[in-house]
Symmetry: C2
């Protein structure tokens, strides 16, 4: 048994990651809906089985659709998710899942009322074989108790490629921490299994892209829980000389060892992606994770069918959003005075 899914919102290429995760695991892609019409034909070309919906209602009224996924503009995701859940369907969107505390409160309320899922696609874990492998190792105790994570999410600035205008005004995506660092917050929570988490400090700045006064190209924050701490840095400062969009890293420090991930590139080192390094009581070892399977899509399908929470945890997902919003709204502005 599988499920029917619909893609609503094609504003970011991440929609393809979401489709792929579910489609590869057996979900049937039934509909696509995107008001910006020029985005639709390339999508249909990629997935010839999909039907083009003329209205959102066409998707919502189809009982064969169990799960709506997609990448609307970030500001619109909460409203869409609420409508989807109120129509008895589950919703999975790209990160950031929402951009304000008001949205979070509304989404939490409707999620509780309807019992449907509001799942944010944290692709730097779900779509990252190295991260999946690292989590498997860490949770199996390979490095003892996890006491700290350092996660960095550097990105190449998007001025040179097609990108919706919202990318340059933080009002539309909630700021650099809310937009990017939610990945690393998710990873901190997942690797440490923390329950009670506070944002110790957060900072945002615009160091280079001052032609966009409402942009932020740097953010960092520190988290602390009952058993671990986390440091997170995100930025849009990746230089053109890097062969990919960003040199994302994750360092997981345990009481008996540590793991380093070079997720997307091993600069001047091994080719390809998904490089895992582990040092423990015995040795330092390299693990090529390129072929590690990604369980997210298949688990989410089962969750939709069985009302379980194995692919993701709804309360942890909301906590991630809440911590991202808190870190963003409390962030000290560190753009240097000129």
């Amino acid at each position: 048994m599988s499920i029917g899914i619909a893609a609503v919102g094609l504003q970011h290429g991440h929609v393809h990651n979401m489709v792929k995760a579910l489609r590869d695991a057996g979900a049937t892609l039934l509909w696509v809906y995107e008001p910006e019409s020029e985005l639709v034909p390339p999508f249909v070309e990629a997935y010839p089985e999909v039907k083009i919906a003329r209205t959102l209602d066409e998707v919502l009224d189809d009982p064969a659709v169990h799960l709506v996924i997609g990448t609307t503009n970030p500001a619109d995701r909460a409203d869409l998710g609420i409508i989807v859940m109120q129509h008895g369907k589950d919703y999975a969107c790209d990160k950031p899942g929402l951009i304000s505390f008001d949205q979070l409160e509304a989404v939490r309320r409707v999620q509780a009322e309807t019992g449907r899922f509001y799942a944010v696609h944290f692709g730097e874990r779900y779509d990252s074989p190295a991260t999946v492998k690292a989590a498997e190792l860490a949770r199996a105790g390979a490095i003892g108790d996890v006491v700290q994570t350092i996660g960095t999410g550097p990105h190449r600035f998007l001025g040179h490629i097609r990108r919706p205008a919202w990318a340059f005004d933080k009002q539309n995506f909630g700021g650099v921490i809310n937009d990017l660092a939610s990945h690393q917050i998710d990873q901190f929570l997942y690797f440490t299994q923390s329950q009670n988490v506070e944002v110790v400090q957060s900072q945002v700045g615009n160091f280079k892209h001052t032609q966009f006064p409402n942009f932020e190209d740097f953010g960092d924050l520190t988290l602390r829980s009952e058993k671990a701490t986390g440091y997170i840095r995100v930025d849009w400062l990746t230089p053109p000389g890097l062969a990919t969009w960003g040199d994302g890293r994750l360092f997981v420090l345990g009481t008996d060892g540590y793991i380093e991930l070079r997720k997307y590139i091993d600069i001047t080192g091994r080719p390809g992606k998904d490089h895992l390094f582990i040092v423990d009581g015995e040795s330092a070892r390299y693990i090529d994770c390129a072929d590690v399977p990604l369980p997210y899509g298949g688990l989410l399908i089962q969750d939709v069918i069985n009302r379980t929470q194995s692919a993701f945890d709804q309360s942890r997902c909301f906590l991630t959003c809440e911590l991202a919003l808190t870190a963003q709204s409390n962030a000290v502005q560190i753009t240097p005075k000129t």
Copy 2:
């Protein structure tokens, strides 16, 4: 023209780094003084020209001694430095340079009164060819404006080797941040050339070595200046499987690129130490820094002779100590409750 030096205090092997830096640059090692007598013969064996002083006064009264160096117990360094400076000689000690605000105040006062140097040997920069090279690149603008540093100083726990008892009681070294993180604070100040710096947050904990209740095996902190931020993590959690004492890293983020140092090991990668990776507008490149010369010793000799500050900056040195003390004394205790 060169200078005469004396080694007072052999409580840590770092004294050899200090001797080497100065002796290789032409300083004459005149005296050694260490009350713990069994430490003296191996030192004399390493430097056969040295004379053994029976008292500290023998060193202080010798007009041929221009600079006293060494590694007494950390708690004793300030008092010794004050006596040395009051005898008209310069003083250079291992980090931490001191362990309390009272000591810092006294040392600052006597340094100003006497005009002598109180130099703390930040070996993770002075003795590190990769760090010297990175600073040269960063200061020449190779990565644009430096806006952030991440410095980690993981260490293998010392339970298995000879080490003075003070290592297990933070009262004797001022805590893990004061003891270890002063290196990374120094590097933040040196790479960013920051002037006005505050400690945004700091944390210390004892996650693994609970048999030593006055020990701390983890510390981190965040710094912020008028133009940059810095994150620092230090720990005593390096597992036995690592082939060296610690996988120290430095990440320097600029507006036009970034530098990563793998100072002491490139896990499962290139052999040896001092690995520098730079990514800029053109490409990603590896630089083997093993043969980069270390200027510190020669510059310090010239500073002692000419009363210049080229090897180090006295006010930055004191600021490093002050920030380390501040971060340590304000640190939130994060040892998990058992």
